[in-house]
């Protein structure tokens, strides 16, 4: 809001005219406004609170001599329940998250941006409304239902068509995750394309270009930041998604060599093992440390996406 009223709005029925609102109304308004301010600040409190609480549960692990951060990040040995040889290395899970997200983006980005172009440039208003509603419904499907689809439908299809021994693998998770992140890419991408001024389109059309040339030479370069933001938000969603990848990627802790290998992601690892880790144990703390890692990762991705979007708005 750029045009706010003066800091102290002219008091209603001010003393000048000798009419005053009753005291309870003024006090009540003060209290309510105080409440509004408090709620307004709550988002900061919650974000810091989430980080602080997850970090607090994770921190004591650093005091253990057997634990090292480099081993946590770069070792692919994960034996949290072994008696003699406990190892807490999440590199295999990082690789799993990376592989699934990468594959999902490789599928979702072209389709998402293609669909966004179709929505904003080719289709009529009626069809656009209908498609946008369908995309919104697509985005509303719960992740556990996606996971179930991966487990029951997709895995059978994959086994049938690729001959893989197990159907829950990188490919399955990637396809499911792609279907889940397409809606966000389409809606943000369409916003980005719509933000390109019409004068650009008119100028190009006046030169006699076809729609395809218009898209390739004018719209895509002009909207590239917004499209990048759309992709980044899709990546954020992919990294953070839990239930769908838990159910669709299998449960093998190892670095994948092909798309038909089963993997485990960072999120799925927490979801699968938190229930078994006794509160306060090293295992429990390492899982919280994984949470810190995830929080930092998605925070970074979202921050960059926001900066990119802000860059567009400034222009």
């Amino acid at each position: 809001m750029n045009n706010l009223p003066p800091e102290t709005p002219a008091p209603a029925g001010s003393a000048v005219r000798g009419v005053k609102r009753p005291a309870w109304a003024r006090v009540g308004e003060r209290i309510l406004e105080g409440l509004i301010y408090v709620c307004g600040f709550s988002a900061i409190v919650f974000v810091l609170g989430i980080f602080a609480f997850v970090l607090k549960e994770a921190l004591p692990i650093f005091a253990r001599e057997s634990f090292s951060l480099t081993q946590f990040l770069f070792s692919d040995q994960w034996y949290p329940t072994s008696e003699l040889n406990k190892r807490y290395g999440v590199f295999a899970m990082i690789a799993g998250t990376g592989a699934v997200t990468l594959l999902a983006m490789a599928i979702a980005v072209p389709f998402g941006i293609g669909a966004a172009i179709f929505l904003s440039e080719f289709c009529g208003p009626k069809l656009r409304e209908a498609l946008k509603i369908i995309i919104e419904l697509l985005a509303a499907i719960p992740s556990v239902v996606w996971g179930f689809i991966g487990l029951s439908v997709m895995s059978r299809l994959i086994m049938q068509y690729t001959g893989a021994p197990v159907g829950v693998n990188v490919l399955n998770g990637g396809i499911i995750l792609a279907l889940m992140s397409v809606p966000i890419i389409v809606s943000i991408g369409e916003d980005a394309l719509k933000a390109v001024p019409d004068s650009y389109r008119e100028a190009a059309l006046a030169l006699g270009v076809t729609k395809w040339q218009l898209i390739r030479r004018v719209l895509l370069p002009a909207a590239k930041n917004g499209l990048l933001a759309a992709v980044l938000l899709g990546v954020g969603r992919g990294v953070g998604e839990t239930m769908a990848v838990l159910m669709a990627t299998g449960h093998a802790v190892h670095i994948p060599h092909s798309v038909l290998d089963s993997v485990r992601t960072l999120t799925a690892n927490i979801a699968a093992e938190l229930g078994e880790a006794p509160a306060g144990s090293d295992h429990y703390r390492v899982l919280f440390l994984t949470g810190v890692l995830l929080f930092t990762l998605t925070f970074g991705v979202n921050l960059i996406a926001d900066l990119v979007v802000r860059g567009i708005k400034k222009r």
């Binding site: 809001m1 750029n2 009223p5 002219a10 008091p11 209603a12 001010s14 308004e29 409440l35 509004i36 709620c39 307004g40 600040f41 988002a43 900061i44 919650f46 609170g49 989430i50 609480f53 997850v54 549960e57 072209p110 293609g114 179709f118 080719f122 289709c123 409304e129 369908i134 995309i135 509303a140 499907i141 719960p142 992740s143 556990v144 239902v145 996971g147 179930f148 487990l151 029951s152 279907l179 809606p183 076809t210 729609k211 395809w212 040339q213 954020g236 953070g240 839990t242 239930m243 979801a271 899982l287 919280f288 949470g291 929080f295 998605t298 925070f299 991705v301 979202n302 921050l303 926001d306």
Partner: protein, 301 residues
Amino acid sequence: MTDAPENNFTATPLIRKRLRQETMAKWIFFGMAAAMVVPLLLIIGYLAVRAAPSLSLEFILDVPRRGMTAGGIWPALVGTIYLVFLSLAVSAPIGILAAIYLNEYARDNWFNRVINLAVLNLAGVPSIVHALFGLGAFVYAARFGYSIISAALTLAIMTLPVIIASTREALASVPPSFREACWNVGATRWQAIRAVVLPNAISGILTGVILQVSRAAGETAPIMFTGAVFFKAVERGDLFPYYLDEQCMALSMHLYTLSTQVPGVMESIPYATAIVLLGSVLLVNAMAISLRVYLRTRKKW
């Protein structure tokens, strides 16, 4: 579109090539848009067909029987309803007030930019991290234990940023001139908000909140470690089976359990559970969307 008018203009090969390109591009992009929609319909259709043998009113009202391998989903459904209403009862007021602050009171300074950033990032926090937070903060630190309260509060924090965003959008769509007119007759800022801004934005606010009903109903990870439980014995058709400091079953959790943890479940039961969950989520969303479409058609300004 490919037939250019012939009378005063002959299409050269180059032009024909370009027009062909254009048509092709159009169909490719159409294909990409269709590629999102068609699989979705196919999958839902497939799920519905597989679920058909179990789907009935009896399935919804009955409790799980024989170690969850038969019977219905009643306790899970009621548990989900508990969680959704409790979590929104917390997040809707806070979210709406926060949005009022951001849209009506906040000036464009660094502090409020930080708040905006916090809202944005809160929306991006992975659901499993919310679960870790709920476990650390509500279950252990606040000593609520594994309970409906812990789970609902965790869900509330997860739905908060989206409620803030949608409410803000609804408030921002009320033209500034409405507020100015109000201030000019001597209303304070809150009076203007209550008398003019909120009544004009209420439908948009409601739509945003309703959309979060479906989101809260579908989430699994945040409640898995804070208050949802695999199984809880409940009377058939009991409307108030849970106390707030107990754990409860939830539909999303139930689907996860059935499809991964319980051996020998009757084939069609997980499918039917998925269809009930998916159906209720899509139904609620469709209601919110049609409300929005209807209200947009009769907008006064």
